[in-house]
């Protein structure tokens, strides 16, 4: 008689080290685990709740300016440094790690309205309402780290006085040109005291300007005539202009999709446009209750951050109609400028209360070194949460936010207003001849016209 025994090789079950995991053999037959889906649902629910619990987005504030922070610039070549300019003409370089001022760049007599850094991170350009444009040499990091106490201020490389006040400046990606906004759009070179090119289309002041990082010759501006204009440097002529109902405060190009940009509008919404089809917005991002002051895309191109006059910072998906995250603190006042850090993990906001604030881009993200197992666990929870996010309970938990009272009230009010408008529109439509009232889609509702 032959006896069959279960045989297991010891190699498969012996651990090399005591910390190693015990090997487990599983039968993956779904029939054996009928409750697996329910189990995952519960995990997703718990993950959503844990995310809420661990949501601590605020990292720290950087205090030092004595007036409102009007503009910021990130160094494309260096993660830790961020430049900020304030309304009193103060320009500072901050070290994000220590959250201290590393260097000051004194000289501006009026408000600093624009800051930008060249792609190689060597030259800082600042401009302001005192009609001057200043070029500075960015100190290298060795100095930054060691003695910021001794030589705290630096001299500009060049000062160009121009005939009008500046409203903004932006540097071309991988080039030595930068553009200023003011009475007209001027294109400057590092080495010249006069602009190499000027664009003027209409007589209105250009209030913001942004180069396309993917397509370095493309340039978008917004002007006080409520318009957004597209320029091409090679053709030395403006290309297209679209006029909206309200003013656009700032523009950001999607760094991963060179055809798309998003405009931060005065009506509290952001509008994503495709350069090729300016007659309608591709997406309307609503949530702010007051005008959006600044916008910046994450370097991944998947989301962007906005700062608003309603004292909040929000993060939107590039294709999402509503924000996925909303940051606020009690002491943060009107936000004038926001930036995504170059590694897409932090957000910096500058506000009226003279402070710069550093936030995490993902509120509940764990900082510091994460072990692989831990990381895998996080990924799994995230995936499960993402998988069941359409279920009502999980959706509710993920969406829930505690809003400051003014924003909450304003949101409610706005909802009421839009509802009543919608009702009115419906009634008007119902009582007029069929087809006489066309319902304009939201994406084109705020666009007045496209100018050739």
């Amino acid at each position: 008689m032959r006896v069959k025994v279960i045989s297991r090789s010891t190699d498969e079950f012996t651990r090399e080290r005591s910390q190693d995991l015990q090997r487990v053999f599983r039968n993956f037959d779904p029939n054996l685990r009928p409750q697996e889906k329910a189990v995952e649902y519960v995990r997703a629910l718990n993950a959503a709740k844990l995310e809420k619990i661990f949501a601590r987005p605020f990292v720290g504030a950087m205090d030092g300016h004595i007036d409102a922070v009007s503009c910021m610039a990130k160094n494309p070549n260096h993660l830790k440094g961020i430049f900020s300019g304030s309304m009193d003409g103060d320009v500072r370089l901050w070290d994000l790690a220590t959250r201290r001022t590393v260097r000051q760049f004194p000289g501006h007599q009026g408000a600093v309205r624009g800051l930008t850094v060249s792609t190689d991170g060597q030259i800082l350009v600042s401009c302001g309402t005192d009609c001057t444009l200043r070029l500075w040499k960015v100190p290298v990091d060795t100095i930054m780290e060691s003695d910021y106490g001794s030589d705290n201020s630096s001299q500009p490389l060049a000062v160009h006085v121009w005939k009008n006040a500046f409203w903004g400046v932006d540097h071309q990606w991988d080039g030595d040109l930068f553009a200023t906004a003011g009475a007209q759009v001027d294109i400057w070179n590092h080495n010249r005291s006069q602009p190499v090119n000027s664009f003027e289309w209409g007589k209105d002041t250009v209030t913001s300007i942004r180069f396309n990082p993917g397509e370095p010759n493309l340039l978008a501006t917004s002007a006080s005539d409520r318009s957004i204009s597209i320029y091409d440097l090679r053709l030395s002529t403006p290309a297209r202009k679209v006029i909206m109902r309200t003013k656009t405060n700032s523009i950001a190009w999607n760094p991963m999709e060179p055809m798309n940009f998003t405009a931060a509008n005065d009506d509290g919404s952001c509008y994503s446009y495709d350069v090729r089809k300016l007659n309608e917005a591709k997406c309307v991002h609503k949530d702010h209750v007051s005008s959006v002051m600044d916008i910046d895309y994450s370097p991944t191109g998947r989301e962007f951050v906005t700062g608003s006059y309603d004292r909040s910072v929000r993060i939107f998906q590039y294709n999402g109609g509503h924000s996925r995250e909303m940051y606020h603190t009690k002491r943060m006042q009107r936000v004038f400028c926001v930036k995504f850090s170059c590694d897409a993990s932090y957000i910096i906001s500058g506000s009226d209360d003279t402070n710069l604030r550093l936030w995490k881009a993902k509120a509940s993200e764990q900082l510091g070194v994460i072990l692989p197992r831990e990381k895998k666990k996080h990924e799994y929870l995230e995936a499960v949460k993402n998988r069941y996010k359409h279920l009502s309970e999980i959706k509710r938990i993920i969406r829930h936010r505690h809003l400051p009272k003014p924003i909450y009230k304003a949101t409610k009010q706005i909802r009421e207003i839009t509802d009543s408008e919608r009702r009115k529109e419906e009634r008007r439509k119902a009582h007029s001849a069929p087809g006489s009232i066309q319902n304009k889609p939201l994406r084109t509702r705020r666009i007045v016209k496209e100018v050739e």
């Binding site: 697996e36 091409d232 053709l235 002529t237 999709e257 370097p299 998947r302 170059c342 009502s392 050739e452």
Partner: protein, 893 residues
């Protein structure tokens, strides 16, 4: 300062007056006036030269300049002298009515010193000025000398200019539409080329100039005025925008790829194993032959030694004979020249515009390709592939089957209305379609051609009576076999087939075939004989047996061909394959007739005569057939009969059944089915035929059953309503279960017989009653309580509800896809460890501390991209590395 200003203003006025004056004076002759607007010398030069002033002072015609730019004849002396007088004269006029408007001259105006037109004309012709005083001449001489010195041109080149100088006009404002020049105001004051040429008369190159001018005049084209600036700018902007759009569009594939990728990666692997190229190179080990060879060269002691110093010694090692070099150079030169010639030829050919030429070229090319196909199997294969692809495409798109908008429109409007060309085009398209979609036959052309000829024959025979068909076929088959037997194939005289062993083999084969043919021939003959006998007896029999029906049978001979024809057309249109199948069956039946003579009775006539109602009779006949021992063949015959009578169109189904029908019961079952199908599908086309048959003579016996009757018969077997009711009852019982009958556990309460009689206690009964009542109410409350034909399920699992969603979540568009994506759990407990990372990978993989650069342009190969997508591989735009993510994609979608 004020004085100066006034003076200048007056100067303007004076200038205007002067203009007018000139106009007046020049009204006599146009030539003279034109001269005055010739080229002028710069102001400074004039000043320096102290050109003489030719105008005397008067109150109104002082020449001055408001703008410093214009040419002025300035003489300090004059200005000064005049200044006083002018001031005096004009002082009070500021508020006085203006007497001398710009283009009016005062009546008392008198031109004193301006040279008359005649004089000017004289001057021009003479080339010198007769009426000037000596001083002026002296000045002129100085002037021209100076010019000569400056420009280096001969003196007489400036002679013309000199004249202009003394009639200089200054204009206060530059010319514009608000301040037109004098010439324009005059209307006809244009300067012609001729005027400019005149002063050069007699100069060395004048003739040449004039000639070229006349040539130019002949070919002169009007030049359009430029567009307004706003329009120009708009056009520019539009062009710029077009360029921008084009520029941006090139990113589309990148963006699309990124968006569609399940994951994009931004974590460049910083810690690659090797930090430097040197480190990588040090690890390199030669494996292949080539690598080994190269490595041996590299490690060659001599070479290394030579390289070590300064590399100069490497040259010594590099020995090549002069011949080799020369040969190589020659070869290269030859190749270059050939290439160049080819290029030139291609260029020349490309430039030829003649359509005829290109047509011929194309023809040649096609011919060549055809030749290549014949000779080269690879080319033939390629060609076949191409052709096949075209056909497949055609079958897919039906591009040429009048499906285009244009064709539809044409057809809608009617083909008759169209002109020749359009009709031809439509015909051509259809032709194209037919060509492209025909395909399959072409593959086995050789075999099908014979079949088609058979078919043709059959068509011919079918015109006659059905009885003859079999006979004719048999005869034909006999003939053919005889032909084969007799027709000796000519043995090839040359080639492979003429080899002795081949000849032997062929002969052997032929012999075998002949044997077979003989056998077949005998069979044919015997069967033919039998058939003829049967026919005789049968016709006799019918004539005798059916007195009344003889008439019908005879009469039927005439109309039947007609119905045949129509039905043929019908099937020819719809499904030629089915038709041929049916025919084949017929043929097969005829061929096999010799095995069972009985089936011949089942020809259409006899069938019809037997039948009262069409399909009933059919059933009967089929049943008969089924009962027949030689079931297979007889069944086939009966079907062929059916074919000729009812034209079944589902013959393929039947054929299948004939193949499989062996058992009796199976046959009877299968037979009924197709007939039913026929009944359904043939209602429209078969109706006519039934009519036709009816008129042909079965009027008295046949009645069409009503529609309801037909339906009732068709669904006679199934009791749907009962079934549904049962189903509904089941559903209700499941959702609102009936209360259990009050049962006592065995042994409980059974102490005595009395208790047993009493049955279950009253409370139990009451409970049961209550439960019953409750159930009744629940049933009444249901939504489908009053709907007899509906079941509305109210089954709901509250526990499972939270796992279900009411609406389809956003990116999904179909429920199936969504459910499929949610089917499997993604956790490590239910998936192998190898796939879990792929399943739970986030959409964006990045690492904090690594700077993410914006997108950079890289050429994308669309095919590669497609493959990548299929694989689910994602290429990182920065690193350009791709990772296989097949599992993710498979699992998720």
């Amino acid at each position: 300062m004020a004085g100066m200003k006034r003076k200048s203003r007056e100067g303007n006025k004076g200038k205007a007056a002067f203009k007018k004056k000139k106009n007046q004076s020049s009204s006599g002759g146009a030539d003279g006036r034109r001269k005055r607007t010739g080229p002028r010398l710069p102001n400074a030069m004039l000043k320096e030269l102290q050109l003489p002033k030719r105008y005397t002072d008067s109150d109104d015609d002082e020449i001055g300049s408001g703008d410093g730019d214009d040419v002025v004849v300035n003489n300090d002396l004059y200005e000064y002298e005049e200044g006083v007088a002018e001031e005096e004269s004009k002082k009070n006029r500021r508020f006085d009515p203006v007497q001398n408007y710009q283009y009016e001259l005062p009546d008392d105006f008198e031109d004193e010193n301006v040279p008359s037109d005649e004089e000017d004309g004289d001057d021009d012709e003479d080339g010198q000025r007769g009426d000037d005083d000596e001083e002026e001449e002296e000045d002129d001489g100085r002037h021209s000398r100076l010019l000569q010195e400056i420009t280096g041109l001969p003196t007489d080149a400036f002679d013309g200019k000199k004249k202009k100088n003394d009639v200089i006009i200054s204009e206060a404002y530059s010319e514009s539409e608000y301040n037109p020049s004098r010439d324009i105001l005059d209307g006809d004051g244009r300067i012609s080329i001729q005027d400019l040429l005149d002063p050069l008369h007699g100069k060395p190159d004048h003739g040449k100039l004039r000639k070229s001018m006349s040539r130019m005049e002949k070919k002169s084209m009007p030049i359009h005025a430029p567009l307004p600036k706003t329009d120009q700018e708009r056009l520019e902007r539009r062009a710029a925008y077009d360029v921008v759009q084009g520029d941006v569009t090139k990113w589309e594939p990148h963006v699309k790829r990124n968006r569609e990728a399940p994951t994009i990666y931004f974590d460049e692997d910083k810690d690659v194993g090797f930090s430097t190229v040197g480190a990588i190179a040090a690890e390199f080990e030669p494996r292949s032959d080539f690598e080994k060879k190269i490595a041996s060269l590299f490690n060659d002691h001599e070479v290394v030694e030579a390289h070590r110093k300064d590399g100069a010694r490497l040259l010594e090692l590099n020995k090549i004979s002069v011949e080799d070099v020369r040969e190589r150079q020659d070869q290269l030169a030859k190749m270059r020249i050939l290439l160049f010639r080819h290029e030139m030829k291609a260029k020349r050919v490309k430039k030829i515009k003649s359509k005829v030429y290109h047509r011929l070229q194309k023809k040649d090319r096609l011919k060549q390709a055809g030749a290549a196909i014949e000779t080269d199997p690879a080319a033939a294969k390629e060609q076949a592939m191409k052709q096949e692809f075209k056909r497949a495409e055609e079958r897919l798109t039906l591009k040429h089957k009048n499906s285009s908008k244009w064709a539809k429109r044409i057809l809608k409007r009617g083909l008759d209305v169209q002109d020749e060309g359009t009709r031809a085009a439509i015909a051509e398209q259809l032709n194209q379609h037919a060509l492209l979609s025909r395909k399959a036959n072409n593959m086995k052309e050789s075999s099908s051609s014979e079949e088609s000829s058979d078919e043709d024959d059959l068509d011919e025979t079918s015109d006659g009576s059905d009885q003859d068909v079999a006979v004719k076929l048999l005869k034909k088959a006999k003939d053919k076999t005889a032909e084969v037997l007799e027709g000796d194939e000519e043995l090839p005289a040359s080639g492979v087939l003429s080899l002795p062993f081949m000849v032997r083999g062929m002969k052997r084969r032929k012999d075998a075939a002949d044997e077979e043919a003989k056998l077949a021939l005998e069979e044919y003959e015997s069967s033919l004989k039998e058939l003829e006998d049967k026919n005789k007896t049968k016709t006799q029999g019918t004539n005798i047996l059916t007195g009344r029906r003889v008439f019908g049978a005879q009469k039927k001979q005439a109309p039947e061909p007609k119905t045949k024809v129509t039905s043929d057309n019908y099937y020819g249109d719809s499904d030629s394959e089915g038709e041929t199948d049916a025919r084949e069956i017929g043929i097969g039946a005829c061929e096999e007739n010799n095995f069972s003579g009985r089936e011949v009775h089942f020809d259409p006539n006899s069938l019809r005569e037997e039948s009262e109602i069409a399909h009933d009779s059919l059933f009967k006949s089929f049943d008969d057939v089924a009962r027949d021992p030689s079931s297979k063949t007889s069944y086939e015959v009966s079907i062929s009969a059916d074919d000729s009578w009812k034209k079944m169109n589902d013959s393929s189904v039947k054929r299948k059944q004939t193949k499989s029908s062996n058992a009796k019961s199976a046959i009877s079952l299968q037979v009924t089915e197709p007939v039913e199908i026929d009944e359904d599908s043939d209602t429209d086309s078969g109706g006519e035929m039934v009519d036709g048959i009816l008129t042909s003579g079965i009027k008295s016996t046949y009645e069409i059953p009503s529609q309801e009757e037909l339906i009732r018969r068709a669904f006679a077997g199934d009791d749907v309503e009962d079934e549904f009711e049962r189903e509904k009852q089941d559903a209700l019982n499941e959702e609102v279960p009936e209360p259990e009958k009050p049962v006592l556990l065995p042994g409980w309460g059974q102490w005595t017989s009395i208790q047993k009689k009493r049955g279950p206690p009253s409370w139990m009964l009451q409970e049961h009653d209550n439960a019953e009542k409750k159930r009744e109410e629940a049933l009444k409350k249901r939504k489908d309580a009053n709907l007899n034909h509906v079941i509305i399920s109210e089954k709901r699992d509250k526990k499972a509800e939270k796992l279900l969603t009411q609406t389809l979540p956003y990116p999904y568009t179909s429920q199936e896809v969504f459910e499929q994506s949610m089917r499997m759990p993604i956790g490590p407990e239910s998936n192998p460890a190898t796939v879990v990372p792929a399943l739970i990978r986030p959409e964006v993989v990045k690492r904090s501390g690594i700077i993410i650069k914006p997108i950079q342009f890289k050429e994308v190969n669309p095919h590669e991209r497609a493959r990548d997508n299929k694989r689910g591989g994602v290429q990182n735009k920065k690193g350009g590395k791709s990772r296989g993510k097949a599992k993710t994609v498979d699992q998720k979608s």
